[in-house]
Point group: C2
Chain length 234, copies 2
């Protein structure tokens, strides 16, 4: 970029693609959209779209999230994962796509009930088994592995929970995403002693059975030290 002719660069389209994760029931779900036209007509794809001329990348990702789910990106965890730019990844033209990972609190409501009628929640196992359009299988796998890894050393898991949540709810997030049971007693001790991870609200839940649980909200920690190791087994 030191010496160049401003007109002599190849034009690219830049898109953002979103891997939107949430918990629904006992399963981790990803938001997929059904493609209308060619290429990959009627195939499932990650939601996404063009970055506008005056828009930065996160703003484009936030806008797409709102368009597809009605949920404001401000209410969600949103982070950039990677950028994909194989010359032939879109048969129509040269498109570079910046992938974002978005995490929402539990979304029992099907998105089909919103104005984004083409979007649906799908269990990640199902999505992994199928074939997504473009290189979206790769993007999806990369983002999913990022999410699984970041649970260990970041407070990202709280993004799956509502504003106030119990230790059991948080543990549930880990159990579903890692696909293994965790010891409730050790988990409780670890998360409550991890500095700035959780802040007690003073309130507690009313439950159908058992002792009520304290309610917490996410603290200010950006990194968990010590980390919650994925090898922790029940």
């Amino acid at each position: 970029m030191v010496n160049y002719d401003p007109g002599a660069f190849p034009p690219f389209a830049v898109t953002v693609d979103l891997v939107v994760l949430t918990l629904r029931g006992e399963l981790l779900n990803v938001l997929l959209v059904k493609r209308g036209g060619a290429p990959y007509a009627d195939q499932w794809a990650l939601p996404g779209g063009f970055v506008q001329a005056d828009e930065n990348l996160v703003a484009a990702a936030d806008r797409e999230l709102v368009e597809e789910t009605g949920i404001s990106g401000a209410a969600a965890h949103m982070e950039q994962v990677a950028t994909y730019g194989e010359p032939d990844r879109d048969p129509r033209m040269r498109v570079v796509s910046v992938a974002y990972l978005a995490i929402l609190p539990n979304q029992p409501i099907p998105v089909a009930a919103t104005d984004a009628a083409d979007a649906e929640w799908r269990p990640v196992e199902e999505a992994l088994a199928g074939v997504l359009a473009f290189d979206h299988d790769i993007i999806f796998r990369d983002a999913l592995e990022r999410a699984r890894a970041k649970l260990e050393y970041s407070p990202m898991a709280t993004a799956f929970c509502p504003d106030e949540f119990t230790v059991a709810e948080l543990r549930h997030v880990y159990e579903i995403i890692w696909g293994r049971k965790l010891d409730p007693r050790n988990f409780h001790r670890k998360v409550t002693s991890s500095k700035d991870f959780l802040v007690p609200t003073g309130r507690s839940t009313v439950r159908e059975a058992g002792r009520p649980a304290q309610l917490f909200r996410a603290g200010t920690a950006q990194v968990l030290y010590p980390p919650l190791t994925r090898s922790q087994v029940a």
Copy 2:
């Protein structure tokens, strides 16, 4: 990207910017280039350039590395860090830049001796203190923190070493990048017992003084378990 008019997307330029790190003497160095023309004329910047129409992103990064250092990307560690796309990051036009971190074995030779006369190695502390062109300060800091963090749980440090190296040389890498002394005895035990991190070659060094050291090469491990913790102190 579901329904759209193929002509109706804003055109972007896509560049790659490189944070090339190596050790020179006792200091971690970064490769910078001096800008010729406006904007940011005569200011230091990260090396980089346009992605060509038929080129994927890593290929563009490799090509830039060869152009600036004469070193093949195949011989270096190269990984994508993040993508930067603020609308005003380049005053001339809309440019999205994909940043790559490249790590080279010790480069005592100044690059000014090569055909890339505009490029120079600078100690990272010096580069952090100065002001780089565009948003390159942010890119540089992000890549540097990525490198520091990845030393803990990945075998990336071996990329700073020649093909065959001693445990002391490897420790030296950690000490310089983390800016602290590590206990040679504990370090030795940790790296040699970390599965698939190091493979002994059977050979050993001749040294000016002291017992000769075994030579190792990088093993197949992609993740170090257990990690080498940054809090390890001498």
